[in-house]
């Protein structure tokens, strides 16, 4: 939104208002602020919409650790365009209504030029609606519902995580050939689960396999007995799970307790690091991830070291995929602002679209790019299993394969995503 021309009187009034605001803000707005540069150029302000409570409270905070590291690194180098990068955060509570309110507050009141962060797709969408209205660029760091870069994509939103379809593509064909054709789906009964299950089903059938049943598990299920009995009765070759958050922790625990892990091949679509940390003894089967802190790639150990130095007190001792995505989204945004030479949203969006990111730069096996059609980051997708010979107590995964972005691409989203024209986006500069 370009502000109208400012008259001198208006400017005076505005500065008075700012003064009043600054005074009251300390009283009414006890938001976590990071004001360092008081004078000089106006800072670039980012709004971090991270859950601190609710189903994804833990993951939201890990996401934020990644973002803050990237911001700190830029500020240490003198900021972006010679301007300090400031950030502000508030708990989005894993709740869409709260997401809307926080996004409104960050854009309208706190004058944030950019929003970053989401785990839950409902919250991500609520924030996107607000961002659309103002034309504010929004980085969906970690919500991996395929609909995020499909039917619910947006010109102002960029999606940084791999989605359910990507992981299915990477895992399924191989498993049908090597393990067996009789597949059972165990699906969390919500959008991410459904779309992921549909993607898995398509891949299984394409590879010549067969889905014998799809058991829908309500969100927040802790007692999986009824499902596990049913699984035993069906006797499938492969069980493909799309179970998220703390639910998968409980399920793993119960499968391990009953020693069912060897009765069939278990595939978990995507295993977020914060969801496995703390219960490593229950890790089994094959699962997907887009990054791991012990990948044998250049830059990885240095990154982990930097992260750990910054967060010596972190409840999770090493960065995982969630923190990684937060970091990468923030870093790339700030780089693009620097490169474009302004904070003009349209210019930044255009620069992000189709942007290529070298493998070595992103600490992944293959080069990645931002899909100009869907705004999803097309990247390396890894499959992993429990590490039988861990180097230390954080070394839980053994990476067993890496799919290229082309192998894992979600082709359906290319047709379901319809982006608005640039001219329909309100423009702003911060």
């Amino acid at each position: 939104m370009t502000k109208s021309r400012i008259t001198r009187r208006g400017a005076l009034k505005a500065s008075l208002m700012t003064a009043t605001l600054a005074g009251t803000a300390s009283f009414f707005g006890p938001w976590k602020h990071n004001r360092v540069w008081a004078q000089g150029k106006k800072p670039i302000k980012l709004g971090l919409t991270c859950d601190a409570s609710g189903q994804y409270g833990n993951s939201g905070q890990d996401d934020m650790r990644g973002m803050r590291l990237a911001i700190d690194e830029f500020n240490a180098k003198g900021g972006v365009l010679g301007r300090k990068v400031e950030w502000i955060t508030a708990d989005t509570e894993t709740n869409p209504a709260t997401g809307t309110r926080v996004a409104e507050r960050f854009i309208a009141q706190e004058q944030c030029g950019f929003l970053l962060g989401a785990i839950h797709s409902g919250v991500a969408n609520a924030i996107t609606q607000v961002a659309n209205k103002y034309g504010t660029i929004y980085m969906n760091t970690n919500s991996s519902a395929p609909s995020e870069a499909g039917e619910n994509c947006s010109r102002v939103k960029f999606v940084w995580d791999g989605n359910g379809t990507n992981f299915s593509k990477a895992a399924v064909a191989n498993a049908v050939q090597k393990i067996g054709k009789k597949w059972l789906l165990l699906t969390n009964d919500y959008v991410w689960g459904h779309t992921t299950a549909a993607a898995t089903k398509a891949e299984v059938e394409k590879a010549g396999g067969q889905i014998v049943d799809n058991l829908l598990v309500p969100q927040n299920t802790r007692d999986f007995t009824a499902y596990l009995l049913k699984v035993q009765q069906i006797k499938p070759d492969v069980i493909a799970m799309a179970i998220g958050g703390d639910d998968i922790k409980a399920l793993r625990q119960q499968i391990a307790d009953l020693k069912l892990e060897d009765k069939a091949a278990w595939i978990n679509n995507q295993q977020d690091w914060p969801d496995i940390w703390g219960v490593p003894e229950t890790l089994f089967g094959v699962f997907g991830t887009n990054w791991y802190h012990k990948l044998a790639l250049p830059g990885v150990p240095e990154f982990v070291k930097r992260w750990q130095t910054t967060y010596p007190q972190s409840p999770i001792p090493v960065p995982g995929n969630v923190s990684y995505n937060g970091y990468m989204a923030t870093r790339e945004l700030l780089r693009v602002i620097e490169q474009v030479g302004s904070t003009n949203n349209i210019a930044i969006i255009k620069a992000l679209e189709g942007r290529k990111m070298a493998a070595v730069d992103r600490m992944q096996t293959y080069d990645a790019y931002i899909d100009p059609v869907t705004h999803q980051i097309q990247q390396t997708i890894y499959l992993a299993k429990r590490n039988p010979k861990p180097a230390d107590n954080t070394d839980l995964f053994e990476i067993i394969s890496a799919a290229t972005p082309e192998q894992a691409i979600d082709t359906a989203s290319l047709t379901t995503c319809k982006l608005k024209a640039y001219t329909d986006i309100p423009t702003y500069e911060q």
């Binding site: 927040n220 802790r222 009824a226 009995l229 307790d257 069912l260």
Partner: protein, 308 residues
Amino acid sequence: MSIVGLLPHLVNGLALGLLFALLALGFMLILGLMEQINLAHGSLFALGAYFAHAIATPRLPLPPDMLQVWAQVPLGWRFTAAMFLAPVLVAPFGVILERLMRRTYGRDPLYGLLLTFGAAMVIEELIRIAWGTRDYMLPVPRGISGGFLMLDLIWSTYRFWAAGFAVIAMAVVWLVIERTRFGALVKAGAHDSEIVQALGHNLEKLRVWVFVLGTVMAAVAGVILAPIWGIRPHMGVDAVIPAFVIIVLGGVGSFWGAVLGGLLVGMVVGLSGAYASEWSMLSMYLLLILIVTFRSRGLFGKKSVLEA
């Protein structure tokens, strides 16, 4: 679906039902004997689970050397200690809650409900402050954990132990209510408080004891169910709603109504999980609407002040 295929799910539903009945029992005691709705029942249940975890893992706020000694004790003993000690630790919360509720006696039962709704919020937040938002698992001693083979399927051993514990706990409550002087007094008080006072008994004290019994039962259910349902701040809310549903299904004030209500809910949840997993979340509520539409006071309900 064949009978052979159905059987495991019936067995599972039965075990689950006993656990649900246990969960609802403390709630029923306070409701049936005091005509007070304790929405904080779930929070007391959660506290039971958290305290049990603190005792068993062990994370007690004790001096490190004492803690070390306790950690050397076999898990079986620690688990047993948790089962008996955690409810004792939760009991004071019940006493406090009863004191607060006293102000609402004689008023519309809605106020008791609202008070305990607020108390539930407060306890849940206190749990978040004390233990954080993460999930915990209560470890089960090796002897009663793991799986065993039955009907050609692997079953969770602890589930059956838990159902057994539930039966014992319920039997104890039944004996206390039906076979002791205390029980007789309490029951009399529920129907006519003046008689009890005329007989020279302190009704206030009696009420505290009923509340403590309800609280202890909530905590016991929390300990027994923790290894199955996990431990997290939100577990109280997740537990109080089924308890509520079961009581209304079974009929307010009826011991056997609560047991039967619990079994019915367990069956419906177990069977729908296996055969209509899409509906499992809703099954409990549909059952409630169905039964209460045809039997307005539930299966064994009597008329109570709560309808006013």
